[in-house]
Subunit: 350 residues, 2 copies
């Protein structure tokens, strides 16, 4: 605000209009008990001198800032940006602004942002908690409305919005086994210790066991983070000798890495090896072949999370609602469905 000459304050308006500060305050906040003519006059002066209320001063006084803190992994990841969009749209409708932060899934960053947001007196926070966040968060939930999105922390009394990760992975795996007859299924999963990752892997294995298929360790790669990790894991799988019929990646970044690797080795999808993944995203439409995915309602997740947060902020309801949204299987080309049926146009299943 270095540039600001002296911004007019409520006091200036009062003086100029020849009324008291409180009267101006009443006009600004649209309260009753102001004579219409007085209101007119004040409004006119406000316009004339270009007065704008100072939300910081108001925030200090009211102990309410109309801002919420949002900490996600990386805004550059489509899944998170969809969530943030959902949050913002809903927050806007309630006149809140959002303070955004990227944790890169690193605990120290997340912690630091939480501290900053606390100091900035946000009215609440929506967080994708990193591994190990439990300890530092425990004392915080007592003084600040909190909601988890995408992941949750067991044993912590915080409302959360997640997706049925286990069920989604289970259903997709079942599709691979039943509808395609695949038995050699490679699996590339993301960060160990994260609930989404563990649940998806559990769903995958559940389907395998159910059909009496023994997982081949050589083609199961855990704990990957980036596109490059996806590339490398795929490479290792290709080199392993246990040539799988299909590769299942547990998020979109890994899927991209896998596609890249398959392409690099001139392995055609789905003819040579099929490919499926958890996570859909807008640009997936541009992918060839179209990816068969477990789709998450990311935008919706943001909305629901915000709703859960407002329940705490505005109704002061100290609750512990755990919302689990359903995933959706979207059958496209990469699983091999298109090979069976020339006229295949894809389809969905809730």
């Amino acid at each position: 605000m270095s540039k600001m000459g002296k911004q007019p304050t409520i006091k200036d308006v009062a003086k100029e209009a020849g009324v008291s500060i409180k009267t101006v305050s009443r006009v600004i906040n649209n309260q009753r008990d102001v004579k219409p003519e007085t209101r007119e006059k004040v409004l006119k002066i406000i316009k004339e001198i270009g007065y704008q209320p100072n939300a910081i001063a108001r925030g200090l006084r009211m102990k309410k800032t109309y801002s919420i803190g949002v900490i996600i992994g990386d805004i550059t990841n489509n899944f998170y940006s969809d969530i943030v969009r959902g949050i913002e749209d809903f927050a806007l409708s309630k006149n809140y602004s959002i303070l955004l932060a990227n944790s890169d899934e690193m605990l120290f960053k997340e912690k630091m942002y939480v501290k900053v947001f606390l100091e900035k007196q946000v009215d609440g926070m929506i967080i994708v908690p990193s591994v190990g966040a439990k300890d530092y968060l425990k004392p915080i939930l007592k003084k600040m409305p909190l909601v988890f999105v995408d992941r949750e922390i067991e044993g912590l009394n915080v409302p959360s919005v997640t997706v049925d990760n286990e069920e989604g992975a289970y259903e997709l795996t079942k599709h691979l086994i039943i509808d395609h007859g695949y038995t050699k299924i490679a699996y590339i999963s993301h960060t160990i210790g994260v609930t989404t990752s563990e649940k998806r892997y559990a769903g995958f294995k559940k389907a395998l066991y159910e059909f009496g298929i023994t997982p081949i360790e050589e083609i199961i790669k855990l704990n990957n983070k980036t596109i490059e990790d996806g590339f490398n894991a795929t490479q290792e799988i290709i080199m392993s000798g246990y040539r799988p019929q299909v590769i299942f990646t547990s998020n979109n970044l890994l899927a991209v890495g896998a596609m890249k690797a398959l392409k690099y080795y001139s392995i055609e999808v789905p003819r040579d090896i099929a490919l499926v993944t958890f996570d859909d995203f807008k640009l997936a439409e541009g992918f060839r072949p179209h990816l068969t995915v477990v789709s998450q309602p990311s935008y919706e997740m943001g909305k629901v999370a915000t709703n859960l947060l407002f329940k705490q902020i505005e109704e002061n309801a100290i609750q512990n609602e755990k919302v689990v949204l359903p995933t959706k299987l979207i059958f496209r080309e990469s699983c091999g469905c298109s090979l069976f049926n020339k006229n295949f146009r894809g389809g969905e299943k809730a």
Copy 2:
């Protein structure tokens, strides 16, 4: 903050430590002139009672909030999320937080957010200005540090970071004409009235004229916004009868729409019709065929914009720097380069 019991204040710390408020303030802000033992004691009390400074109160007093407002079109668009990431990373290193808003390129939304951010006393703003923003912004730049990113508004004294849009489109078009011998080039452009859009179109036409090619009106579609618009425009082009050899889309959303349409009509890229676009993005690696693109340094743009903003905020330098970053041509498969050369691996050109 509804949940907060009474948060301890600087006063509580002072009382508990048996010193004055000012001494505590000195400790918090790491100022000198505090006896080491006193400092120790205060620090201990702070920890004990869990005191956290109130940035709102400090902001009111200092007239500085360490927050900056960022208004982009849509965080869901990879180009913008990259920019925001660049902004955030740099802002963080200077201890600022960012308030994020999506304008959807709609003037009334942008205006509203600017008003909110002004009231929230942000220290500065980085904006992707919508069409027609000039009028309402004019009085604002006098009182608030501002930087434009991606687009600029001519005649307004605001520092900006853009890319050489005309040159980029010109070079890519030249590649299509010279290296591929294409003469029937379709063009699908985004929003009319936006500098990026106009400049790209100008670069496209410049190359055409230079080689004596007359644009075919039927296959030039202006003013598109969404993936669906890209789909529709492509459909119209296909239906037009003037079958082009290549389609040039002016941003990534339109490219995805175009791919979708081409796929829908079983037109193979680049064999039947080639496709190129402005805008690269991380997930483009998953696209088949790989898109030949004019790449923009989006992350860098965010960084530079933030730097320009801090120059104003911290050095109070009222300047008017217009930074124009270079684009990069990335030759991949979709233009047809891969058809010429079996061993083609793509390449770049600054």
